[in-house]
């Protein structure tokens, strides 16, 4: 490559090794737009410093930051929320509450909840209390922490249970007793199996008719460890031991269907194994297809299948038996 100053290699090199943006200068120049643009910088440190700098710019940056809440980039939106939380301008309460109630990603709702706590406006309380019921544990935790900052007190034991569960305070929830059952049951739909297992434990220690029904429901949980916790808690939940195997057998069987695996192996030998999670299924499938194509060259398009299907039927039977056995072993 030549050493001239204008060849493409140089400009690419300059692009790749570009200097870090001068955040201090941008802050001095009150360049809100420039700083917002840096919230999506590929350098995490730059993002971090830009968000912090925006947080020091005071209420004058609020309108631009509220506008940035609709940006396409999630990093820009997270940075804007962070800065709004630091500025504490009451004008941002409404847009952040709207974001919290929206169907946006959990991390945006979480950040919005935390920012509402930082801003400290009582108007945020209503929205945050609702978010204690959110399906995501980060949002619930953020809402509980924000409510704590706002000095909120639960009005009844039911609300208190949601609040304590959001803070992962299991002992506190247990102390509430039967009034916490509703909140605990609502968390049985949690995505994280460890939380569901914890809920079953709590139900077992609290007991009561609602807990019995809920424990029965959890016996059908897709996760084996949660089902096991349900079995352990069942006695305290008031479920007769003799009913446990029946309850457990009602669960939706996970994993590949034996019939599906067999059918696939009948028509596309090898793919049934692959469907069952055997990596070598592809190998068999590709070999089978190659053989079929080669045979088709000699015997025409249909004859190879006439020969192949009785053979694949045998494989399909074997696959059915194997898949059935594996499903039984998986429990």
């Amino acid at each position: 490559m030549s050493e001239g100053g204008k060849e493409p290699g140089m400009s690419l090199g300059r692009f790749l090794a570009r200097e870090k943006p001068d955040i201090h200068a941008l802050t001095q120049a009150r360049d809100t737009r420039g700083l917002i643009a840096l919230l999506d910088d590929r350098n995490f440190d730059v993002q971090w410093r830009a968000a912090r700098a925006l947080g020091t710019m005071g209420a004058e940056a609020t309108p631009s930051l509220i506008h940035a809440l609709n940006h396409l980039s999630i990093n820009t939106r997270l940075g804007a929320i962070e800065a709004l939380g630091a500025i504490k301008d009451p004008r941002s309460t409404g847009p952040l509450a709207a974001l919290l109630a929206s169907g946006e990603s959990a991390e945006l709702r979480w950040a919005a909840a935390l920012a509402l706590g930082e801003i400290g406006e009582k108007a945020g309380i209503r929205h945050l209390a609702k978010s204690l019921h959110d399906e995501d544990r980060y949002v619930r935790y953020g809402a509980a922490k924000a409510l704590e900052q706002l000095g909120w007190q639960p009005e009844n034991d039911g609300e208190k249970a949601y609040y304590l569960l959001a803070l992962q305070d299991w002992d506190g929830t247990k102390r509430i007793g039967k009034a916490a059952t509703g909140a605990i049951i609502s968390l049985l739909k949690e995505k994280h199996s460890a939380t569901r297992a914890r809920m079953v434990e709590l139900l077992g220690s609290i007991g009561g008719p609602d807990a019995t029904k809920a424990c029965e429901f959890v016996l059908r949980d897709p996760d084996g460890s949660v089902r096991w916790h349900a079995v352990l808690a069942s006695k305290k939940c008031g479920i007769a031991t003799a009913r446990l195997p029946v309850g457990l057998s009602k669960r939706k069987k996970s994993g590949p269907s034996p019939f599906g695996s067999a059918l696939l192996n009948f028509f596309f030998l090898g793919l049934g194994y692959n469907y069952m999670g055997k990596w070598w299924g592809f190998l068999i499938f590709m070999s089978y297809m190659t053989l079929i194509v080669l045979a088709q060259m000699e015997l025409g398009p249909f004859m190879p299948f006439v020969i192949a299907y009785p053979i694949t039927a045998l494989f399909a039977t074997q696959t059915y038996v194997m898949a059935k056995r594996e499903a039984e072993m998986a429990g």
């Binding site: 962070e82 959990a106 991390e107 994280h192 692959n274 469907y275 194509v293």
Partner: protein
């Protein structure tokens, strides 16, 4: 393993090899695929005593991991301090099992010159090696000189309560152990950092917000406020986590050029089936209808498949935080 078996006699007579003092023959058996045979060979080498030392130390440089493990086992039995320099070198082995076994050997031989390297072993990235080093140091009678060393020692022993009791001086050790590959260890470390509750843990906790394990990230979130980290900074920290998103353009392009592989890229197991069906269909249409008809028939289908892959990639949800 069967391949290796061919390099040694079918059923090596360990007793005869031992009787002949044939250390080279016994070392060769250490490569056998038969675990029991390897154990017998290692025992026999150990029984040869200091006479086998030179051959054993020399063979410690062999590439085969099982051979090195067997030799260290024999050296444990011989307990000759002349093996220490070679074992200290082996403490830097690439295999974590070899490093672990070496740490155990150094502890069994019990020579104080191994203390320095074993203290370094407490900083290993593998929990087994750290555990072995801590046990070996305890066996030699080593006592930590300060709280930092004590923290490494107790962390190696998996005595987490004791690490927590040390408090702030344990933070560098805990931060170091955060590089362990086992996410359960990382979770435990994060929990303890939270219990210690000192702002010095901030860099370690912020780094853990980007951890590949969702359980570690969640523990880091719960521990952060205990260490005085403003919760408001956490969502941004968490945004550094590895994201499992698929590029819709790549999925669409792949499905257009190699129909079915776009689905494969999106993790759909049946993508390969579509790929193979397309190849078969292309061959047959080409044969009977000719080139122009093949392209004019299949291209619109490829466009549809590309659009479909693009569409499902955009609709694919990211896994929970």
């Amino acid at each position: 393993m069967k391949l290796f078996d061919r390099s040694v006699p079918k059923k090596p007579d360990i007793g005869a090899l031992k009787a002949r003092n044939d250390s080279a023959g016994l070392i060769a058996v250490l490569r056998s695929g038969d675990f029991d045979l390897r154990t017998e060979a290692a025992d026999a080498l150990g029984a040869l005593g200091p006479a086998a030392m030179d051959a054993l130390v020399k063979a410690l440089k062999k590439r085969d991991r099982d051979t090195r493990l067997g030799i260290i086992e024999a050296l444990i039995r011989i307990r000759d301090p002349r093996a220490i320099p070679a074992l200290i070198e082996t403490l830097k082995d690439d295999s974590s099992e070899v490093r672990w076994e070496t740490a155990i050997a150094l502890g069994e031989i019990g020579d104080p010159q191994a203390i320095g390297p074993l203290v370094q072993g407490l900083r290993d990235h593998d929990k087994y090696v750290r555990y072995g080093a801590a046990f070996a140091l305890a066996r030699i009678g080593w006592k930590p000189e300060n709280d930092g060393e004590k923290a490494f020692f107790f962390a190696g022993m998996q005595e987490w309560k004791a690490v927590q009791m040390i408090g702030k001086p344990a933070i560098p050790a805990l931060s170091h152990i955060l590089s362990d590959r086992d996410s359960n260890v990382r979770q435990k470390v994060i929990e303890i950092l939270g219990e210690i509750g000192d702002p010095d843990a901030t860099p370690a906790l912020i780094r853990s917000l980007g951890d590949e394990s969702s359980d570690v990230r969640w523990k880091a979130v719960l521990s952060s406020p205990k260490c005085g980290i403003n919760l408001m900074h956490l969502p941004r920290g968490l945004s550094r986590r590895p994201r499992m998103t698929k590029n819709p353009l790549v999925a669409g392009f792949l499905n257009f050029m190699l129909p079915g592989l776009g689905y494969g890229y999106l993790g759909k197991w049946w993508g390969i089936m579509i790929f193979q069906i397309d190849i078969t269909a292309t061959v047959w249409i080409f044969k009977y209808w000719g080139e122009t008809n093949t392209y004019s028939t299949l291209f619109p289908i490829y466009v549809l498949l590309a659009l479909h892959a693009y569409y499902i990639a955009t609709k694919m949800q990211e896994p929970p935080i």
